[in-house]
């Protein structure tokens, strides 16, 4: 059996209680009544005994000090996480392991090794959040339950010592109790009577604000945690060229994989000449965007689609994506996020005899799929010996390519004609034409076609409503605790005297107005603040 303390009023209190939960009498000599009022002098459950390992862990997390330290540590970690960019924001196709070191030196390497580059996903940050969640739950249970019990068990008649030690107190004579009761009720207090004594209370529910708030936080953290669970959350990016199809990341299921075709990307600007916008736009340099839009078609593969194989696509639907107007299917949404205009797509050249300027046919090179050889007829042909989509001279001064994007295309062509059957070589790039020796022919530039790319965010979020609900409950709790307060007034008949005491958990000004009103309306001596 647990040890209990029985008060002289007959109530039996749990071990560790400082004020009797029924009459409020201090149970030990050294109890400070007023400061014990925060939790009604009830025993924090953790402080009662320290036995098993589980209890030790529990007591650790029950401490508000520990909770505050956890918050501080999390805040500091989150702040450090903003010093260098997060992994999401570093260029794609670079290895984070080397990127942070090469970009930011030793500090960058440490940053990376400690997981600050992907803070919200790093194991120790998740552990910290988990510990904070545990601290919130344990601390709330340890305080909330005893507080609830104490407030529920409180009696009308309070011990003299409890009354005398309240911040607001007075002693009167000849008081009409009915009048007091009536006045308190007119102030919308809930009044209880016992042996001619009165206990009036108002706004008890505001004491639950902190606990409601904590429930909201726990729901919020649970929602955040669920984002890591499979199938709950997708946040990815998809680049698609006009006229091309791409598989949508994160959308593969047993029923197949979704593909998206970009039919057209549209960028519209406001017309400065137009009267309607004229005055508003006159102060702006350059153009102002009016619309970013992707016209797309959604496809789905057969269920037995193997990764990489040419998909057998079935059209699902067409759609238009604008900023803030996503394209939705199943539980996915595609948002317009970014674009790239005028990526080189096709380059045209003409085979030209240098001296005469005569042309012997035109060829168009698809920069994403060039042919090896272009036959121009009549014995004229052009071969591509080398293709550099994004031309650069490497460390050995050899022509090379940075990557596979055709941002700066360059070629080594071999030109064949009946007069030059062995072929003549030339290096041709943008504004570059280098010949190997003295050539009879050259490739003259004859135009370029471009394409736009659209970037879409692929988003699926089954956790948002949980997070929103948590946030709502959190706010309800905050409101409950901040805009209301728990006011209590005790009136006790002591032989021929009438003792009055009052307490509130906050807003003493409001309570003082209430007792002032009460003493004005009745013969009660005004309650005075103790020094």
């Amino acid at each position: 059996m647990m040890q209990t303390i029985t008060c002289e009023c007959g109530h039996s209190n749990p071990y560790g209680t400082s004020l009797c939960q029924a009459c409020g009498k201090p149970l030990t000599q050294d109890v400070e009544v007023l400061s014990s009022m925060r939790y009604e002098g009830s025993a924090r459950r953790s402080q009662t005994y320290n036995k098993t390992f589980v209890d030790h862990v529990w007591n650790f997390f029950s401490s508000v000090k520990v909770g505050v330290w956890l918050i501080v540590i999390i805040l500091v970690a989150a702040a450090i996480g903003t010093i260098f960019p997060q992994e999401t924001f570093i260029p794609p196709n670079v290895d984070p392991a080397t990127h942070y070191e090469s970009e930011y030196g030793t500090l960058g390497l440490i940053y990376y090794l400690l997981g600050f580059h992907n803070l919200y996903g790093s194991w120790w940050f998740i552990i910290l959040l988990g510990m904070l969640g545990l601290s919130i739950i344990v601390a709330s249970l340890d305080r909330g339950i005893p507080l609830y019990k104490a407030l529920k068990q409180q009696r009308v008649t309070r011990h003299d010592q409890f009354m005398k030690n309240q911040r607001l107190f007075s002693v009167s004579k000849d008081v009409e109790m009915e009048e007091v009761k009536y006045t308190l009720e007119s102030l919308r207090y809930k009044v209880r009577e016992e042996n001619g004594n009165i206990f009036a209370e108002k706004g008890r529910f505001s004491r639950w604000g902190a606990y409601v708030n904590h429930v909201g936080l726990i729901i919020f953290l649970t929602g955040a945690m669920l984002r890591f669970f499979p199938g709950m959350y997708v946040d990815d990016i998809l680049w698609v060229r006009e006229g091309e199809k791409a598989s949508i990341p994160g959308t593969a299921t047993d029923e197949g994989q979704y593909y998206l075709e970009n039919n057209e990307f549209i960028l519209e600007m406001y017309d400065k000449e137009e009267k309607k916008f004229n005055s508003a736009l006159s102060s702006v340099d350059g153009e102002v965007a009016k619309n970013y839009q992707s016209n797309v078609t959604l496809y789905k593969t057969k269920p037995d689609h193997t990764v990489g194989e040419d998909p057998e696509l079935v059209k699902v639907k067409d759609g238009e994506i604008r900023v803030n107007e996503p394209f939705k299917f199943d539980s996915f949404a595609l948002y317009q996020t970014d674009f790239k205009l005028n990526e080189f797509y096709k380059m045209s050249f003409e085979l030209e005899e240098k001296e005469s300027g005569k042309k012997f046919g035109k060829l168009t090179v698809d920069l994403h799929d060039p042919k090896q050889e272009y036959d121009l007829g009549n014995g004229y042909k052009v071969k591509i010996e080398e293709y550099f989509p994004n031309f650069i001279l490497d460390e050995q001064n050899e022509p090379s390519t940075v990557n596979n994007l055709p941002d700066n295309p360059a070629f080594v062509f071999s030109m064949y004609s009946p007069e030059t059957p062995k072929g003549e070589k030339a290096f041709v790039g943008i504004q570059k034409n280098i010949e190997s020796g003295e050539n009879q022919f050259k490739m003259s530039f004859a135009g370029i076609e471009t394409k736009d790319l659209t970037a879409l965010t692929v988003r699926k979020d089954h956790t948002l409503w949980i997070i929103a609900l948590g946030g709502l409950i959190f706010m309800i709790g905050v409101t409950q605790g901040l805009y209301w307060n728990y006011r209590r007034i005790w009136i006790k008949q002591n032989q021929d005297e009438v003792w009055a005491a009052a307490h509130t958990n906050k807003n003493w000004y409001g309570l003082k107005k209430d007792v002032e009103f009460l003493s004005n309306k009745t013969s009660l001596i005004p309650l005075e603040e103790k020094e």
Partner: protein
């Protein structure tokens, strides 16, 4: 009463530890996308190679597969290619295949490259990067070693020396 409280506390702590543990497990798993590593079974794929043949990973069951992801513009990839070609010729009879998946480049670039280094192993072309994504490939070159049962034995993003390639071949030799 005391016992009940201990049970309650233990249960609550256990639930929280499990929830946090599972979250961390998922975060590590998710961070790498579908990061295929040691011990996983290698996801099947079908790609067209440079010669126009369909290459399906499952067809190589019973053989060791040296699965290499590369690009012509990547210097470390270029360095290891001649070593791979030489060892391919030695280990082909011993049941080890090389599949050198090119990451989204044009046939012309890849063909010129393959001709220059006289590469004879199949070069599947991953134009849509689907296989690259399915294997969670970040930087290239990345080499994945698959044994005769389709299990991943090792994965590395190092530029390989010839000795390293030999030791890899020995590892997956059936």
């Amino acid at each position: 009463m005391k016992k009940k409280r201990l049970w309650f506390r233990s249960a609550l702590l256990a639930i929280l530890v499990l929830a946090i543990g599972y979250t961390i497990y998922n975060s590590i798993y998710e961070e790498s996308g579908t990061y295929i590593s040691k011990g996983d079974s290698a996801p099947n794929f079908v790609l067209t190679d440079l010669d126009g043949n369909q290459v399906e990973l499952e067809d190589y069951r019973g053989k060791g597969v040296f699965l290499n992801f590369w690009g012509t513009w990547c210097k470390p990839c270029e360095r290891e290619m001649p070593f791979m070609q030489r060892q391919y010729e030695k280990y082909k009879e011993q049941g080890v295949e090389i599949l050198a998946v090119n990451v989204s480049e044009t046939n012309v670039s890849v063909k010129n490259f393959a001709d220059r280094y006289r590469l004879s192993f199949p070069i599947p072309l991953d134009k849509q990067r689907e296989v690259t994504k399915a294997y969670g490939i970040g930087p290239i070159p990345t080499t994945i070693l698959i044994d005769k049962n389709g299990k991943v034995v090792d994965r590395t993003s190092d530029s390989l020396s010839e000795e390293k390639i030999i030791s890899f071949m020995e590892k997956i030799k059936p």
